[in-house]
Symmetry: C2
C-alpha cells in the first residue's frame, strides 16, 4: 500500500529533451549524474548509482543499489569503473566532452568519475541541471499543488495545537507532528554543502531577530550550538508573534509558506508591517508575469519597506537577508533568487516563494510567505490561506 507516485514517461521526456538541448548547446557529448536530487529529476526515483545521459538517445541507469530486478533501462554495476565497458558492449562511443556535477560531487568523487572516462574535456553539469529544473513540467507542477494543498491543510490546524505557556520548540514539534500526520516526508532538501535545517522553523519573539550562519530568510538561535537555527526553547509570551515557516515536503516537490500567529495584542507597527507584506504580495500578484526581472521584484519590495520607514526591519535586523524570495522544487533554494543582482526574469513554469518579512526586536517577525506558479496568465498563488496575523488562544 506504499503510496509511491512516479512521473509518467512523457513528463520525464520533457525533462530529458530540455537537458539534452542544454548539453548540446554547451558542447557536451554526455553527462554522468550522481547526485540524488538530480537522479530523481531524471528518473523519478532514487538509487545508488549513476545516470549516463548522452546528447542523443535515452538515459541509461547504472544501478549499484537497491538490488531490484524490475526496472527497465537498468544496468547493474558494482562501481563506476564498470561503466565504460558496459557502454562499449552496447556499441556506444565514450564521451569526449563529459559534464559532471561540479557543484554537488565532492572533489574526490569528481576526480574519480573523471578518471573513469578520462574525457578530453569536462564541464560543470550543476548549473545546467539547476537551470533545467527551474522551469517545472506539468507533472512537477501537479506535485507542487499537492504539497501546497497539504501545507495549507496543516497550517489551518496550527492554532489548535497551541497551549498556554508553551515553549517555541514545543509548539514546533506539535506542528511537526501535524505535518507528519498529513503526509510530510520529513526530509527537507537544500542545495549547498552547509545548509543544515530540520523541517523548518518556528520563530517567536526576539529569537526571530537572532542571526544565524545559514542563508535562509531569517535565523533564530536554535536549541544547540551544533544547529544554530530556529526555535531556541524560550516560552512564548504575550505581546509576541510566532512565525511558522515549515517546508511543505508532502511530495518530492516542496511548497514554502509562512504565517504569523500572536499571543495577545501587538504594537501597531507589527500589524502595519504585516499588512505591508500582504500588500507586497498583492503587488506581486498584479505585476508579476513572464519577462519581469527578478531583481525588480527585490528592488520594489525593498523600496516599499524603506518608504514605510521599516527598511532596518526588513528581512532581519542585525543580519538582513538580501533576497525576498527564491525558486522551489526538489530543493528549497532553487533558482531564481529574488535579489538585487539577479539576471533572471520570471518565466512560465517557474515556482517561486515570495517572503517579504519584518523583524521587530522583542515582538518577533511579521509578514507572510506564499508559493506562486508563474503562468501565461500571470501569478497563480498555490498557498491560499488567511493571511492576517492570527491570535492564539483567542
Amino acid at each position: 500500500m506504499t503510496p509511491k507516485t512516479y512521473p509518467p514517461l512523457e513528463d520525464l521526456q520533457i525533462r530529458w529533451k530540455k537537458v539534452q538541448k542544454a548539453l548540446k548547446e554547451s558542447g557536451a557529448d554526455a553527462c554522468l549524474v550522481a547526485n540524488n536530487v538530480n537522479i530523481y529529476y531524471l528518473t523519478g526515483k532514487i538509487f545508488a548509482g549513476f545516470v549516463y545521459f548522452p546528447v542523443e538517445g535515452d538515459p541509461i541507469y547504472f544501478v549499484q543499489r537497491p538490488v531490484d530486478k524490475e526496472e527497465s533501462y537498468t544496468i547493474r554495476i558494482r562501481k563506476p569503473e564498470d561503466i565504460p565497458d558496459c557502454l562499449k558492449e552496447r556499441k556506444r562511443e565514450l564521451p569526449s566532452v563529459l559534464f559532471l556535477e561540479a557543484g554537488q560531487l565532492t572533489y574526490n568523487e569528481f576526480l574519480r568519475l573523471q578518471a573513469v572516462f578520462h574525457p578530453a574535456a569536462t564541464g560543470d553539469l550543476t548549473p545546467l541541471l539547476r537551470n533545467a529544473r527551474m522551469i517545472k513540467t506539468p507533472w512537477e507542477i501537479g506535485q507542487l499543488r499537492i504539497s501546497a494543498q497539504q501545507h495549507v491543510k496543516v497550517y489551518e490546524k496550527i492554532p489548535s495545537v497551541f497551549r498556554e505557556n508553551m515553549r517555541d520548540i514545543e509548539f514546533q514539534y506539535e506542528i511537526e507532528r501535524l505535518m507528519r500526520q498529513n503526509g510530510s516526508l520529513g526530509l527537507f532538501r537544500t542545495y549547498g554543502s552547509n545548509m543544515d535545517v530540520f523541517m523548518g522553523s518556528v520563530l517567536a519573539g526576539k529569537n526571530a531577530g537572532m542571526p544565524s550562519p545559514y542563508d535562509f530568510a531569517l535565523g533564530g538561535a536554535g536549541l544547540h550550538a551544533c544547529l544554530p537555527i530556529g526555535a531556541s526553547g524560550e516560552t512564548i509570551r504575550s505581546g509576541q508573534t510566532v512565525m511558522v515557516d515549515m517546508a511543505g515536503n508532502f511530495t518530492a516537490y516542496m511548497s514554502d509558506m509562512s504565517r504569523v500567529y500572536s499571543l495577545g495584542t501587538l504594537p501597531d507597527a507589527a500589524y502595519e508591517a504585516h499588512q505591508l507584506s500582504i500588500q507586497m504580495h498583492n503587488r506581486l500578484m498584479e505585476t508579476g508575469k513572464a519577462g519581469v526581472p527578478c531583481a525588480d521584484i527585490y528592488q520594489w519590495s525593498l523600496k516599499m519597506a524603506e518608504e514605510a520607514g521599516w527598511g532596518t526591519h526588513f528581512m532581519g535586523t542585525v543580519q538582513q537577508a538580501k533576497f525576498v524570495g527564491h525558486g522551489i522544487g526538489l530543493e528549497i533554494n532553487e533558482p531564481p533568487v529574488l535579489t538585487a543582482r539577479s539576471k533572471e526574469v520570471l518565466r512560465v513554469g517557474m515556482v517561486i516563494a515570495y517572503e517579504p518579512k519584518f523583524v521587530f526586536p522583542e515582538v518577533g517577525a511579521v509578514g507572510i510567505e506564499n508559493t506562486f506558479l508563474v503562468t501565461a496568465e500571470g501569478m497563480k498563488k498555490l498557498t491560499i490561506l488567511k493571511e492576517d496575523i492570527q491570535e492564539l488562544m483567542s
Copy 2:
C-alpha cells in the same frame, strides 16, 4: 534560556593537538576547514566561514555569518579570498602544503579554496579529520552519554504510544514526537553525499527486508520514491515485529540503538535469532577491548549467524549489509566500520554501534543495536535497556 553547551577550551585543545600532530605527520603546513561538522569539531560551534589551522599555534576562525561580535579568535571576512591578506597582516606565512576536505567540499569549492592559496601541494584533510574524530575526547564521551541516556528514556516509552491498527509511519511519528519532547535536535547527520534519512527508521513486517539505495544496515521501501527508506505506510499486523532504530541526536553526538517490539506471538525462529543477537552483544562485551581487530568482530558475528543456520537472514535477505557495526559521533557513520575488510583495531575512546540483525520475510527484523564505549577496562555499554522483544498491547 537556550541550553547551549560548549566544550571547554581544554577539550578543544586535545582535538587541536591531535589534528596538528596528524597534519605534521602528513607534511602539511596548514589546513582550511569549511565543512560544518568539522568546524563544529574544532570550534564547538557552527558558523559560515572557515577555520584556518596551521601546524603550530591556535586555529583562526574566519567568519562570514552570523554577524556576532562576542567571539574570540574571530576575523570577519566577506569571502574566502579575503583570508590570505588577513594572514599577511598578522605576519603569518601562507602555507606551501595545504590540506583541504577533498571528501566533503564540492569540486568547485575545493578548486576555489585551492586558488585562494595556490599552494605548492594540496592534501586531503577528510580522512585525517575522520581519523582524529574516531577517538573521542572526555567531553565528547560525556555528550554521548547524555544522548544515550535520553535515547533510553525515549525507548522506554515507545510501547505507550502504540495503538491498535497503527500504520508503521504513524508509530514512527509518535516516536519522533517522543524524541523531540525529550530533547532530540531532529537533524540526523550522515557522512557521504547521498545518505538521505530522516530521524531514523521504524521497520515493520516484510518492509524490513526491502532493499534500499542506502548504506544503512537495513532498508525499507519508504513512503515515496524520492525517499526510499524506512516505514512504508503499511498497517502493523499480528505476528510481525517492529524494529525501531532512531538516531539519538540529543546532543551534537549521537547514540545509536535498536529495539524490537512485536504484535502478538512470533514464530520460534524470530525469538531464537533475536536471542542470538543478544548473545553476540554479550560476546562483544566479554571479548571486546583495545587491540581487537574490527574485522574479527564482523567475522565471528557472521560465523555465529551461519552456524545457527541464519546466514541468509543476517543483515538483510535480498540485499545484505556487509557490516555489523560502525563508529558514531557527530555523524552516524564514522570510522571504524565493523566489516570484513577493516584494517582498524578497537582503541580506547572509540564509540561504536553494534547491530547484528536478522530479517525474516513476513515477520520482520529482529536483533538489537547498542552503543559501546571502548575503555581501558573493556567495552562499556551506553544504551542500557531491556533487550528482549517486547510485546505491544500485551
